[in-house]
């Protein structure tokens, strides 16, 4: 056999070829030898001498295929609008598409040599916008499919598609009379007949590329099948949804909808082409969820209030795909947490306010944190709902004039945990509770108020040696440092340093005493503190120190003067305490009391009865301080007085018959309770600190900017104070005024709302 071009009789060769083609297309048996010969025939026709018969071969084949398809159609039309039409069509399609594929191989010479040449490159198709020219040659396989589309599908498409839709409808009703394979095959034939330019040969998932991003016009599949299918589905679920919503509760409705969406998703995978999955589910979603959004939204509040977690999970799942579907739910959640929180902390008993406040907020937080995590899958939107609600609850003020009590209560809570008298809590429990209090701390707006209260409480614990454990104290400070930075805990750290420096100092003092051979009448210990670091009151009153203590004061001052140059000590007697032994009672008592209290008590050294005025003069305390300490001694029955209200002449008696079950106790605590005035004072001093902070911030900003607009300055101040407290605009304005008065800045002459820095 020669490959050389030769004379051929077209009609004769075509005659033989045609018989084989018939066999191939109908998938009857074609012997290998015959296949090989016909393959050669295609070749010889294409290279025939003197004129190749390529075009003739192509058009003859086209005519042949068209006739074949038309014959098939005549047959199929007998089944018109009969449900077995689907099966017949499917069988024919399977056979034909297979046959055409083989035929394509038989004509591979023609395909490769002649079609490829005239075929446009991919780029031309993509960007050139070239439409198929008439008479333009395409591969035989494509030609076969093209003919199938034109002469078969487009002719019977209405009946066929109606039958497919009916089959799917009956599947939805649970009736699977029509085989899945057939419906699936028919649907996919719509994709397969489409211009396979966009198909990657040999890839079973070629369908994916049907929706070519550049093909502007919809494909045959989309136009002929998908659009009516989606419309049909939409109509079906519209009816279904309005039927369900009137008969079921919202909760049942959601259950059903989720079930239906799942079913429909499975159905899509059974019948449809992959490009339709998303479109179908969004269509169903639109009909079942978006159309009934208001019904779902109206139920949100009740679901949140009754903690119906399953329903909430369902709602979340259904509303999540919608662009703004979750807003209502998130807002409802926020409002509900806020309401529940405010109810919980609305009525606190004064004595246990700090405990109840913190623990109920922690409980609330944990409950909703859990819901946000499990039900709402830690969705950012819901986390911020929780945050907003907590911030609102924690920083809530009953009336705008009173400061928010939360920072104070939280500090008190920490104090209660860190004190020695923590009842019944193990160390790990205390630790856990303290870590939890940080959660609340993070939400507090006025962190500086918390800091003030916390540092006062810490000072009291350190000075009176009330701390449960130093490790716990330091752990807490480190937590605060983590949450709020070094600046915030700086002073607290300095307090700790002073405590350890003081204990060294006591040792040195004792060594000094031994070396000098001095013996003090009492055992002496002292804390020497840096004036700036401790939130301490100044001496509230002049005081005549009991004589027995005097020598210790002198000796220590001498010692301290030698140790440090240029330092001045101020004694804070109102903070100091004494260990005292009572020997006038039946049995001895060991009492820890304040120095002011002991001063009152030692006045009775020489007598058992004294006049108010005389004691006061002996101690030299101011009236209010004196009354307070005298009162405390009478309350604990060490002293007696018949008068309800003290006068200058009231007679105070020593209670010689004093008895107490305990031999060792402390009465210093009674006068150390925080008074409302002190709380008030703390708030005032916070206000002062804030003003200083704002002024410093303004000067710093002005120094770097030189000239700045009023609004920008306010913004920058707000930014700098963010995380410590949120100043009001009026306070900032006042600070600006003060600084103008003090000539740090001035208004620029040509503009009303601009300041410039005065260096």
């Amino acid at each position: 056999m020669s490959l050389r071009p030769k004379h051929v009789n077209f009609d004769e060769t075509w005659g033989t070829l045609r018989r084989t083609i018939e066999g191939v297309v109908t998938l009857s048996k074609v012997p290998r030898v015959e296949w090989n010969d016909r393959f050669t025939d295609v070749y010889t026709l294409c290279v025939a001498h003197p004129e190749p018969y390529t075009n003739q071969l192509y058009s003859e084949t086209q005519t042949f295929l068209r006739k074949h398809v038309q014959a098939l159609r005549t047959e199929i039309e007998k089944y018109e609008s009969n449900s077995s039409l689907l099966k017949v069509y499917y069988d024919m399609w399977v056979k034909y598409s297979q046959g055409v594929e083989y035929l394509n191989k038989l004509y591979s010479y023609l395909n490769q040599q002649h079609v490829k040449k005239s075929k446009l490159s991919e780029a031309d198709i993509t960007y050139g916008g070239v439409t198929d020219m008439p008479g333009h040659m395409i591969e035989i396989g494509e030609l076969g499919l093209e003919i199938w589309r034109q002469d078969m599908l487009e002719k019977i498409q209405d009946t066929l598609i109606e039958l497919v839709l009916e089959a799917i409808r009956s599947d939805r009703r649970g009736d699977t009379a029509v085989s899945t394979t057939i419906v699936n095959g028919v649907v996919h034939s719509f994709v397969a007949v489409e211009d396979p330019k966009h198909r990657i040969p040999g890839d079973p998932h070629t369908h994916l590329t049907v929706c070519h991003p550049f093909s502007a016009s919809p494909t045959f599949y989309e136009k002929a099948f998908e659009a009516p299918f989606l419309q049909d589905t939409g109509r079906y679920y519209q009816q279904e949804a309005s039927k369900l919503i009137t008969t079921c509760s919202v909760s049942e409705y959601m259950e059903k909808v989720i079930q239906k969406l799942n079913e429909e998703d499975m159905r899509a995978r059974r019948y449809l082409h992959a490009s339709s999955y998303g479109k179908l589910s969004s269509e169903c979603h639109r009909r079942l969820v978006s159309d009934h959004l208001s019904a779902l939204h109206s139920e949100c509040r009740i679901m949140v209030e009754n903690d119906r977690r399953q329903d909430l999970t369902n709602t979340y799942g259904l509303l999540k795909p919608l662009a703004s579907g979750l807003n209502v739910l998130a807002d409802t959640l926020e409002a509900h947490i806020k309401k529940e929180g405010l109810e919980a902390v609305g009525n606190l008993k004064p004595e246990t306010a700090h405990m109840d406040f913190v623990e109920s907020i922690i409980l609330l937080y944990k409950k909703y944190k859990d819901i946000v995590n499990t039900v709402f899958k830690s969705d950012q939107m819901f986390i911020s709902s929780l945050d907003k609600a907590c911030t609102a609850v924690i920083n809530f003020r009953q009336c705008t004039k009173n400061p928010c009590r939360s920072p104070e209560l939280l500090a008190k809570y920490c104090d209660a945990l860190l004190k020695k008298s923590t009842k019944g809590y193990s160390e790990t429990e205390v630790d856990e509770k303290l870590s939890q209090s940080i959660i609340i701390f993070r939400y507090i707006d006025d962190k500086d108020v918390f800091q003030k209260f916390y540092s006062r409480n810490l000072a009291r614990r350190l000075i009176n040696h009330l701390s449960h454990s130093m490790d716990a104290e330091e752990a807490m400070i480190n937590r605060l440092k983590q949450a709020c930075g070094y600046e915030f805990t700086n002073k607290l750290h300095r307090m700790f340093t002073d405590v350890s420096v003081s204990s060294d100092l006591n040792n040195k003092f004792n060594d000094y005493l031994t070396k000098e051979g001095i013996k003090l009448p009492i055992s002496f210990s002292i804390m020497v503190l840096q004036a700036g670091a401790w939130p301490l009151q100044q001496n509230p009153s002049p005081f005549a120190i009991p004589q027995i203590l005097e020598s210790s004061v002198q000796k220590f001052e001498t010692f301290y003067g030698r140790q440090f140059n240029g330092r001045k000590l101020t004694w804070l007697h109102h903070l100091s305490s004494c260990d005292v032994k009572l020997s006038y009672t039946k049995k001895p008592y060991f009492i820890i009391m304040q120095t002011f209290q002991i001063a009152v008590l030692t006045s009775f050294e020489t007598c058992d009865e004294m006049v108010y005025r005389d004691i006061r003069e002996a101690t030299r305390l101011t009236d209010d301080q004196f009354v307070r300490h005298l009162q405390s001694l009478i309350e604990c029955k060490l002293l007696e007085c018949d008068d309800k209200e003290f006068t200058q002449d009231s007679i105070i008696k020593l209670n010689k018959g004093y008895s107490n079950k305990r031999a060792k106790f402390r009465i210093s605590g009674a006068v150390q309770k925080e008074t409302p005035q002190e709380v008030e004072q703390t708030h005032v001093s916070v206000e002062e600190d804030r003003k200083i902070f704002i002024q410093a911030a303004i000067v710093r900003i002005m120094k770097s900017r030189k000239v700045i607009k009023h609004n920008v300055l306010i913004q920058e101040v707000l930014q700098l104070s963010n995380g410590r407290f949120s100043p009001t605009i009026s306070v900032i304005k006042k600070c600006i005024e003060t600084l103008i008065e003090r000539a740090y800045l001035e208004r620029t002459p040509n503009s009303a709302d601009e300041y410039s820095y005065v260096a």
Binding site: S525, L572, L575, D579
Partner: protein, 84 residues
């Protein structure tokens, strides 16, 4: 003795005892620290010269290091640390 005091836990605060309330070099109060330090107290001490002028230790060290003559910036006398 009816009442015997056995022990005394007392508290005192200390401040710098200076003849002025501001450092003549950095103009920051002695209760605060010099401009290079963050925290007042033991880490930023004061020193006194024989001329009785007082400065943050860090401030006077910086001043002396920058001058050829070791003189007090306030009174221009020779600077010498006052010993105990």
């Amino acid at each position: 003795m009816k009442v015997k005091i056995k022990g005394w836990n007392t508290v005192a605060v200390w401040k710098w005892l200076a003849n002025d309330d501001k450092c003549g070099i950095c103009r920051a109060p002695f209760d605060g620290c010099c401009s290079d330090c963050k925290v007042p107290g033991d880490d930023c001490p004061l020193v006194w010269g024989v001329c009785s002028h007082c400065f943050h230790m860090h401030c006077i060290m910086k001043w002396l290091a920058a001058q050829q003559n070791q003189i007090c910036p306030m009174c221009r006398q020779d600077w010498q640390l006052k010993s105990e």
